[in-house]
């Protein structure tokens, strides 16, 4: 495989075409897996590479696959999470548009490893046009024999169905995604049972993020050791860091896991525009607690970010410049969670809407610093008490804004 093949994101214009992908050594990793490896050896290789889920939670992909029960006659499914709704996140969009065959090849390898014959790609509704190339890629791969009843001439078959959501952030949560895919409201299921044992249509199901699956071919092509070596000890490979907000070059940067946050922002994305400085940074999508400007010398891997009190999440970095009122940031955040709560459990449904009410009062006159304590109490009432991780995802960033910028918020309220 050419050196080019090690990068997930080629930047030439026709990179999304099958022909261009094949030129870079595309589908050779799938061929290797299907023709020279046993499924369990593929799972073992991916386990060793320690590729952690790129959708947000960071669960190791190989381990997740190994939870699917062996044997049994019924169907099992692969669901690709292309719901990409976490604010500040726009990386999967790039994979769908620039490297759809890397995703499809990763799906072939995954399905082979787990014994799956049907896969769904759940694309957020707002990406209906963005996913046009993906759908073309599926058709191209099928007619060239990289998907369909006899993948690469073997007796392994895989059908891929592209499914469109209809506007609901919560459908990115894996069990809400399953509900939605089955034609219901996207409201999370109680776990356990986990999707690996009872998932789509009550069958064992693997759910992975677009970027996670698109990176799988690299592991098979170059080996687990190589992949792990590109990241840090318990978090292998490269990540697609999306940088937006106050930087000179917003965009996606594919860099080693563990690259320092400051370096991503200042070197790769060009730092803040002339005359501006960094006030705060959201390091991993809006659910990730905000870091102050003096907290960004942190390696961008799951464990390091967790130690710093935040999370790597979807690796969507939002740079907040000096002069931004944090009350505005708090308002955008509170409004988002109040709007997107699916309403299934009380602490989240009521808590997020009360927090928004309190924040609105702070923005009008009539609020007082005591409202900040009320917001913290409400956030505490949500955290750890909800059916799905959305609750924590709402409570943690709100708490971080209020505690880290308390002085500023009090001054703003007093005025």
């Amino acid at each position: 495989m050419s050196e080019n093949g090690v990068r997930l994101l080629p930047l030439d214009d026709d990179s999304w075409r099958l022909e261009a992908y094949l030129r870079r050594g595309g589908y050779e990793a799938a061929r290797k897996a299907l023709t020279s490896m046993a499924p369990k050896d593929v799972v073992a290789e991916v386990c060793q590479a320690v590729i952690r889920g790129r959708g947000g939670a960071g669960f190791p992909a190989g381990m997740k696959w190994s939870f699917v029960p062996q044997g049994g006659a019924g169907p099992r499914y692969l669901c690709v999470n292309a719901d990409e709704g976490e604010p500040g996140t726009f990386k999967d969009r790039l994979v769908l548009r620039r490297a759809p065959h890397a995703l499809l090849e990763g799906m072939v390898i995954t399905a082979f490893a787990v014994g799956i014959r049907t896969a769904f790609i759940y694309v957020r509704g707002e990406y209906a046009l963005v996913s046009g190339r993906l759908e073309e890629a599926v058709a191209e791969a099928r007619s060239a024999g990289y998907l369909g009843p006899r993948v690469l001439g073997t007796d392994f078959g895989l059908d891929v169905i592209v499914h469109h959501g209809a506007g609901a952030y919560i459908c990115g949560e894996e069990t809400a995604l399953l509900e939605s895919l089955e034609g219901r409201r996207g409201q999370p299921r109680v776990k356990p049972p986990f999707p690996a044992s009872v998932g789509l249509f009550r069958s064992p199901t693997v759910i992975n993020n677009v970027e996670t699956l698109a990176a799988i071919p690299q592991i098979l092509a170059h080996g687990a050791g190589w992949f792990l070596g590109r990241g840090v000890a318990k978090d292998g490979g490269t990540r697609l860091f999306g940088v937006s907000g106050a930087v000179r070059r917003p965009g996606i940067y594919e860099l080693a896991v563990g690259t320092p946050l400051r370096q991503v922002i200042e070197v790769h994305a060009g730092g803040p525009p002339e005359g501006r400085s960094i006030k705060a940074v959201v390091p991993g999508g809006l659910s990730a607690p905000v870091l102050k400007a003096d907290e960004i010398d942190v390696p961008m891997d799951f464990d390091s970010l967790a130690r710093s009190g935040s999370m790597l999440g979807s690796a969507g970095i939002i740079v907040i410049p000096d002069g931004t009122p944090m009350l505005d940031v708090l308002h955008v955040t509170a409004r988002f969670y109040a709007h997107e709560s699916c309403g299934k459990c009380t602490p989240c449904r009521i808590g997020t809407s009360w927090i928004l009410k309190a924040v609105r009062r702070l923005r009008r006159s009539g609020g007082s610093p005591a409202d900040l304590d009320l917001i913290l109490r409400l956030a505490e009432g949500i955290r750890g008490r909800t059916l799905c991780p959305f609750g924590d995802g709402a409570a943690m960033p709100i708490r971080a804004i209020v505690t880290k910028f308390r002085d500023e918020l009090e001054r703003a309220v007093a005025r």
């Binding site: 500040g88 726009f90 169905i161 996207g186």
Partner: protein
């Protein structure tokens, strides 16, 4: 009032249903096809979809009321979706939204009286590196400025 999809839409609907191991799973795609053709999902279309997929009507209503992209009433000829989440807010989304409200004379969730434009807000369109951004009938625009937005609105108003 009754509903029947066009022959082309019906063919698409039947092809779609056949893809899924269980019929009800085709509900979202079927609703997308109906809305794509009719612009919205009428009560009659709702009943039709329920019957087609063997679902109780309430199951379809539940779904329609949950997802923001489905419409149960006709909308304007063009739908303008303006993102107001953090990356866009930092880039001036509030100002852009204010300008659009002023030019159209309507707020989010409303349609201009001539039926030209429906305005809605969005929570991150996944185009944050092009903030502030918006979608015009699903097509991404960004980064937009006061000038490009003003020109866009004139174009939409003129387009009948």
């Amino acid at each position: 009032m009754s509903y029947a999809p066009s022959p082309a839409a019906l063919e698409k609907i039947e092809g779609t249903i056949a893809l899924y191991p269980e019929k009800p799973a085709a509900l979202l795609p079927v609703l997308h096809i109906i809305q794509g053709e009719s612009g919205f999902i009428s009560a009659a279309a709702e009943a039709w979809a329920a019957a087609k997929l063997g679902l109780r009507p309430v199951r379809v209503r539940e779904v329609l009321s949950f997802y923001t992209m489905f419409r149960r009433a006709p909308a304007g000829r063009t739908t303008l979706q303006v993102c107001r989440n953090l990356s866009c807010a930092l880039a001036g989304a509030d100002d852009i939204l204010g300008l659009i409200r002023e030019k159209l004379g309507i707020g989010p969730g409303e349609t201009t009286s001539d039926g030209a434009v429906t305005l809605v807000t969005a929570e991150c369109l996944g185009h944050c590196d092009h903030a502030p951004c918006l979608q015009v009938d699903g097509v991404d625009h960004g980064p937009v400025t006061r000038e490009t937005v003003a020109a866009l609105i004139e174009e939409l108003k003129a387009h009948v």
